[in-house]
Symmetry: C2
Subunit: 212 residues, 2 copies
DNA sequence: ACCCAGTCTGAAACTTGTTCTAGATTAGCG
DNA sequence: CGCTAATCTAGAACAAGTTTCAGACTGGGT
């Protein structure tokens, strides 16, 4: 169910760099993602309408669905795109704090600031991410792994993380997503999100006592 | 926008016990919620179709929409209903662990077990909760307050919680919701949810050092 | 150059959430 | 009882996600 491009009458054009993807196809995919980002930035989740995305990308509706089997898939792919960009940016200028917990908190606050710049886009991507059902789990998992990588990067150049640290990272990720949602739906202020992030990052100190 | 039942041509039949609500109306509301629970238990979010809810509740579609202005409102109200029931159950047999963090973890694991019994219902309610936009924030907030109350109850009979404790509780709530989602979408095992809950509950120990 | 398989297009159809309307019912009140 | 405003019902209509289909197009192999 997750990886079956074997069917004789080809079914889809998945994302992975595993498939060949001609130049024209790669360009179509890029156009679609760009159109999605544009529409999402304008009006959030509801403004991303499949017919409009198709038209803006200069592609037939059926083609859009061949590339992304649902609106949720499309938006999760967009999030993946954005995250990869962010990861690149963060790599260039990593936080300089000496405390790992502080570095993680600062990294997440940077990401949060990026979302504040395009709140509608953030809305569309995060809503899709948390609304995704099992049919999107592979893609959501990719996004999750990316997020984990970003947090681990921020924690430091340490070797393989301990299971305890991985648990802490998962909890941080949970908090990050959920705090974003409460902010996006107007139930928490920016200040509150910062506090929540800083609070949860304390968990890191519990798992790295060797520094004290 | 949140409270305006003033219009001359009455608009809605909100939930709060603030409105009179005749007996027949209260009964209708109950039937609707029961039908929703039933359908959700059977097939999750997608199985809760407004026409079917209306029919199962013996009510016209327009009436359903008068009571609950959207599918999301309906499911969030259902969650509120379930949470109130759970809160009552928990009050009767509170966890007996001596450590507050352990009590909270145990309480959440009980709640989790309840969800495991009706995973489809859990799916419908949690998806609705995290998908809700600003138009539902009042109702979502009510659910959030209920959850907070349950956690605070589990923490102990202490007086007014400190701001630090409240932050910890918010983070626990974030983790709780997000961990549920990863479980429901098949990306985390039951064991993993337990670990995440136990991990985040350690935050409580950080905020109540007076016991050591 | 020709052919085949796979792809893309344009358009219609289908599904389910939401809105709207006209007429029947009900609740309260003099 | 009889009136009036609000509510409820049945059903059509609308909106946006998704599916389907016939025909045009493309790319690669012979």
């Amino acid at each position: 169910m997750t990886t079956e491009p074997k069917s004789p009458t080809a079914r889809a054009v998945p994302a992975g760099p595993s498939l060949p993807l001609t130049e024209r196809q790669a360009a179509r995919r890029r156009r679609i993602l760009r159109a999605t980002e544009e529409l999402a930035s304008r009006g959030g989740f509801d403004a991303v309408q499949m017919r409009e995305v198709a038209e803006a990308a200069g592609v037939a509706l059926g083609t859009l669905y061949r590339y992304f089997p649902s609106k949720i898939h499309l938006l999760v792919a967009t999030m993946q795109d954005q995250l990869e960009r962010l990861h690149g940016t963060l790599r260039k200028r990593p936080p300089t704090d000496t405390d790992p917990a502080a570095r993680v908190a600062r990294t997440l606050m940077r990401a949060f600031r990026a979302m504040q710049r395009e709140p509608h886009l953030a809305d569309a991507m995060v809503r899709a991410l948390t609304f995704a059902d099992r049919s999107v789990s592979a893609e959501v998992d990719t996004v999750s792994r990316l997020t984990t990588a970003i947090i681990l990067d921020a924690m430091g150049p340490a070797g393989p993380p301990t299971p305890e640290q991985l648990s802490a990272v998962r909890v941080i990720e949970h908090t990050w997503h959920s705090a974003l949602i409460t902010w996006l739906s107007g139930r928490a202020s920016i200040a509150q999100v910062r506090i929540d992030i800083e609070t949860v990052c304390r968990l890191i100190r519990l798992t790295t006592p060797q520094q004290a």
